[in-house]
Symmetry: C3
Subunit: 274 residues, 3 copies
């Protein structure tokens, strides 16, 4: 038996799964072209309805139809940054949640400045990144090498807690152990598999799932935890289902398989949240 | 035994399959970055040769080599819209067919206006969309939510027939039952599977197949029907081949598998056209 | 027993495999949106760390972190061409190798001119293309139809040898038999499978592997041969592992599977280099 807060969070997350499939929230992405297909497919697998649109001329109208805006700076450029700011301002007016994935913050000044500007101007409800991205945004002096990194849980707890207090939003750091912090709450999620770091888009898909859950969960802390937990559980199931001789190519589609078959029961049985 | 017009259309479609594999027509796409990879792979699976090129400076030259131009406005921007218009004008001069996929028409003014402008300036031979996209272009007062929708066949018949008469081109509405209308002809296609609505790119890939068949079939009505029918049959085969525990991730690659193995015999045996 | 130069090259290539997994070199890509996901996944499968970044404002900083720059002109535009030139100039200053994939050179003037300009201004260490692309760059009068072509080995040897002498770099022509030429050396690689020509991204992924190996191998001739050989061996293994009824969709992920499980032993056992 899982008890107390942990049980409550798992319960809340598990109930959101059929809710997404019933309501099919539209998740507007302004995202990178490398993993856009993966993000669209994982949102559909979860039961949401993804749309990618990034021209400044149309994003305000598109986001007006959406249940959530996911901003991912993975292959940002001047035009899409303008679209992010415009769409975000409109989302704020409407009260639609914004999820920011600050891909590569710290790797280049442009990425760091863009992430900081989005935070300052749009106040996203949730920021999800790896440890070095979140450290960069929290003002820790560190330089990111690439877009993947293994997270040290205690550092992640400290930095997520600090940034979430400073910004008054939910901050999630994913890594070996995932950390969600915000509103005086802190959760550690121990699902996932090391193979997730050997495919592209693991972080991006996680952020898209966070956005999909936030579209139906007014409690954004629970929404962030839900997306991360479902990604982690799917990563475990995909690993278990690998056949002899299969590798990272098979692992990728088995993640989408697992999300498309995710049930409340699976989340209750497998979720490792504290 | 299938008889009459249905048998004729199936026969025509089935004969085009080896024809594509023999002639490997170049299919020039100006399309979105979300499903471009899926579109390229399905064209290759059918035996065609895809090329994606969208810079205004080069599209006229590229389309001069092509057997068909597929215009998909899924992630349009100012630059690519200019490329669509330039490439389309050159395709018209050469007599190469143009297939338009008006992704998200009705969702934003920019998409609706762009689709209308392409229709006005380029007179595409075939327009393929879902019901709400085609309703938007036919001037029906309705707002699209997202890019997926389930089609109501009788509405689809009415609106496809009306728009095809108005524009003098082939109009196809895909949904639970697919409708192809144009030149005084109307066909209903009853192939497909509901899982096609749970992956991204089902519509885009269908349009790319329509373009691939139109490149080798002077009868564009038959070309449109062929692409839609092959997509639907592949969607059925993919579903049948799913193993226990598999979901939408596996479904995606099994569609490409089915197209790459599609034979004239399979089309004759499975096609449900009336 | 394999002997002499062939054995030496295979030995060198095989030793690089664990070296990549240990050092995880960052491979900066400025590439097309059609196959960017495939390229990222194959670099990760080989053990490298891919990053795609193409805004002129950030590429110099990003490439400063990279072990190799891969420039692929598959869906070039004015903005990304500027990024290629800036990133390349910085890579040159730092001594990081540059790999050029001149996708579609010969198909349009813009592609031919861009490839020529990159060669002139950046002097890439390795150029990898299909026969018609390399013939175009070598000044042979031929027009490319699309981006796929079957290579004639003796023509490939002649043209690769000539262009490599003219430019003083490594030139690789991939086709039925792959040719690597440069620095007075010439190798033929007889791995691969015809199914590689029936998926998109075979050439792009090959160039990304070349870049990944060049990041850890100071001998760029061996680096080019390594990437091509690993791609070819993976293409063979993927074919052998296809189950009855599977097609090009399954073939694609089985290639990534094979690269993610590639070992020095497999390369020594299967490599067919002369």
């Amino acid at each position: 038996m899982k008890e107390g807060r942990e049980a409550n969070l798992l319960e809340t997350v598990s109930m959101a799964v059929p809710n997404i499939r019933k309501n099919r929230p539209l998740i507007h992405h302004i995202t990178n072209y490398v993993t856009a297909n993966d993000c669209a497919n994982i949102v559909l697998a979860a039961g949401g309805s993804p749309v990618m649109a990034d021209d400044p001329e149309e994003v305000e109208e598109m986001v007006s139809l959406a249940g959530c805006l996911v901003i991912n700076i993975g292959t940002l450029d001047t035009r899409t940054v303008e679209a992010m700011l415009r769409a975000g301002a409109r989302a704020r007016e409407r009260g639609a949640p914004i999820v920011l994935d600050p891909v590569g913050a710290g790797a280049t000044g442009m990425r760091t400045r863009t992430a900081e500007r989005i935070i300052r101007e749009l106040s996203p409800e949730v920021i999800r990144g790896n440890l070095s991205e979140i450290r960069t945004l929290a003002g820790s002096a560190e330089r990111t090498l690439g877009v993947d990194s293994t997270a040290d849980a205690s550092q992640a707890e400290e930095v997520a807690g600090r940034l979430s207090r400073e910004l008054g939003c939910i901050v999630a750091v994913t890594g070996r152990i995932d950390v969600v912090a915000g509103g005086g709450r802190l959760s550690l999620i121990r699902n996932g598999d090391e193979m997730l770091s050997r495919i592209t888009g693991g972080g991006c898909m996680c952020s898209s799932l966070v956005g999909t859950f936030c579209a139906v969960m007014p409690d954004r802390f629970a929404g962030a935890a839900a997306g991360i937990l479902v990604m982690g559980v799917a990563g475990e199931i995909a690993r278990e289902r690998l056949l002899p001789g299969e590798g990272t190519g098979s692992y990728r589609f088995r993640i989408i398989d697992a999300v498309s078959r995710m049930s409340a029961e699976t989340i209750l049985a497998r979720g490792r949240v504290s």
